[in-house]
């Protein structure tokens, strides 16, 4: 089997482009059979997939669980309820216990940036998939965004993608920045200065591929896709914005703004949406919205990610191919 560090999916900051492409290819294959009405696959039959969700989550957890089950895996879900300590040592002890139970893979969602990476460095057998950590990374979300775009015929190379909203607190934005720039897209970021972190441009995997602009129209103009970020209502209490309506006035994605500045653009949103705040319902439910497709895409992508984590499917094949190649050369 592939070495453990090549089965983990911790983030997209350094994941090789070839791996991103392989995950896209596998996701496509999964999407085809999932959409074709096949009832169940069996590539993960007999595998144990743990879902460690130490922060509230519905769609990501359900998506991973559905993906695992559609591939025939057994799943166990653990959360924070019942244990008040969801930090450091207890998380590590939990993971070691689960690893000892013989789990093949664990999906971790954690409120603290870096928690899954810390954990992965201490594991010896169980692959770890980051289901979103703090404000750091959410690799499967970015992969499903990418997959949704490619399914609509968008080639990331040379593409302009707008990311609108609270980037400071967004793991989705960071992972998207990495994935999109790695594949040659340019990401134009726009949001209130209170929610744009310093030095963001340096996160581009190819130099110069991240631009931060002040006005929404600058971000939308020429964008083939718009990723709308969720605005947490608690940001208002933190003093990061005067009011939701002020935010909406400046940054809400409305049909009028789309028509004027980005008429052909796809609209994505990682969910859950605050309708009437960052996005107008007429956009969310309108013809350019691919928000529901993102959910379907998420399952295909997570099927691929779980197979990679367990070293089966396309990843078992590729290993055999590598071995044969090496043998042939000898």
């Amino acid at each position: 089997m592939r070495p453990l560090d090549r089965r983990h999916l911790l983030g997209l900051e350094t994941l090789p482009v070839s791996e991103i492409r392989a995950l896209m290819d596998a996701s496509r294959a999964h999407a085809e059979w999932l959409e074709g009405g096949a009832v169940k696959g069996d590539s993960l039959r007999g595998r144990l997939v743990l879902l460690g969700f130490f922060e509230s989550s519905t769609r990501t957890r359900v998506s991973f669980e559905a993906a695992a089950k559609r591939l025939g895996a057994d799943t166990i879900t653990i959360g924070t309820s019942g244990s008040s300590l969801d930090k450091g040592e207890s998380l590590l002890d939990t993971a070691w216990t689960l690893e000892s139970l013989g789990a093949d893979c664990m999906v971790v969602r954690h409120p603290r940036s870096g928690a899954p990476q810390d954990l992965a460095s201490r594991l010896s057998r169980m692959a770890l998939v980051n289901g979103g950590d703090g404000s750091h990374e959410h690799p499967t979300q970015a992969l499903l965004d990418l997959f949704t775009m490619t399914r609509h015929g968008l080639d990331p190379s040379g593409l302009r993608v707008a990311v609108i909203g609270d980037v400071t607190h967004s793991r989705v934005a960071r992972s998207n920045l990495y994935a999109l720039t790695a594949l040659g897209a340019t990401v134009v970021v726009c949001g209130p200065a209170t929610m744009i972190p310093s030095g963001l441009e340096a996160l581009a995997r190819r130099p110069g591929r991240v631009e931060v602009v002040a006005r929404l129209e600058e971000a939308l103009e020429g964008a083939a896709a718009v990723i709308v970020l969720r605005l947490q209502r608690e940001r208002q209490e933190q003093g990061l914005l005067p009011s939701l309506s002020e935010y909406a006035r400046l940054y809400q994605i409305t049909p009028e703004r789309l028509t004027r500045w980005a008429p052909g653009a796809l609209v994505l949103h990682p969910g859950p949406m605050n309708r009437g705040v960052e996005i107008d319902s007429r956009v969310a439910d309108g013809p350019r919205s691919v928000i529901r497709e993102q959910v379907t895409a998420g399952m295909a992508v997570r099927c691929a990610v779980l197979e990679r984590a367990c070293g089966v499917g396309a990843w078992a094949e590729s290993e055999r191919a590598e071995t044969m190649l090496v043998g042939g050369r000898r």
Binding site: G88, S113, G114, G134, H136, P197, S198, G199
Partner: protein, 427 residues
Amino acid sequence: MIVFVNATGVDRKPLEVRVENGRIVEIGARLTRRPDDRIEDLAGAVLAPAFFDPHVHFREPGEAYKETLETGSRAAAAGGYSEVAVMPNTNPALDEAYRVRGVVARGQEIGVCRLHAIGACTLGLAGERLTEMAALIDAGAIGFSDDGRPVEQAARMRRALEWARGLGTVVVTHAEDRSLRGEGVMHEGTTATRLGLAGIPAACETTAVARDLELAALTGARLHVAHVSTARTVEMIQDAKRRGIAVTAETAPHYLMFTDEDVARLGTAAKMNPPLRSASDRDALIKGLADGTIDCLATDHAPHTPDEKAQPFADAPFGVVGLETAFAAALTVLHRQAGLPLTDVIDKLTRRPRQVFGLPSAGIAPGAPADLVAFDPQAEWTVEPEKFATKGRATPFAGARLTGRVLGTWLEGRETFRLASPMAGVR
């Protein structure tokens, strides 16, 4: 009677020292041996006045599981220190004379490091009522601070400075606007953005420094700026000194060696407050030490348990240990890399910090207490935290190769530390 032989001074000239009843009685290039002399052959090592650290956290009373006055004292001795000043943010705080007296007395009982205290500025470090500074001084306080919890109200800080001025003592400011820190856990910049961690802007320190410098000017009191971490702070202190304000400053070795970029690699072992800053900040601190704007080195030795530091970055407490690496780190960065003369580097660990806090600093001279350190300025070694005397293990220097090693430490002529084999110098 002990005679240290075959040593050199910090000026690298031959030096021999005779010690009697804890005091230096005779020095020279070569002393005449007497029959009852106990010879301490330093085999070419440098013999210098032992160091003084004005900023350590020994956690007693209240958090002895992190460090005790004893483990802290032993760490100090292992680092070449004969005296330290413990910060008052213990639980309870060092805000009453009997508590300060307790720390000093316990230090004497342990007998490996002279303990002084920085007394609390305000009762319970609450930023409200001033402590009885005169009583605290009598008990052994050598300065005052609400370290870790800056005096928030400018008016309170003004009164603290005025009271301190009347007593001729120094107020140490932990310069930080806590509202600007907010949820921040590391220097604000690209690395924090990349790691998804909330940032602490440089302005968090500089706005507080600006306020306290103005208050020092207003009151004429002596202000000491603790753990300077930004280039702008260095500029402001330089400017204040030119204007004749009675300000002094310290920085810690980790700010000279590491930057915020290292946090990605080092994790919580590089989490302290103020945080590691940018490369230009680091360079300005080195320059500030070289030109005297920053007066001295302090470790801000702040031990926590390995379990506490094993938490996710945002949850782990601020603070790293530093006593057992400070000298070697200072020598490596300031002497080896930045080219400061050895004498200047040692001065920032010995005479200057003592001057700032009004402690005697006679150096190596007849009549002075035999507080001595022997070190090999050429010895290279790898930092292994598991071998530390402190209870703390978190340090950004873990695994680092440093040049310069403490071989032995003496407090009033008594050996308080000796490096286990291999003994490069001391026999």
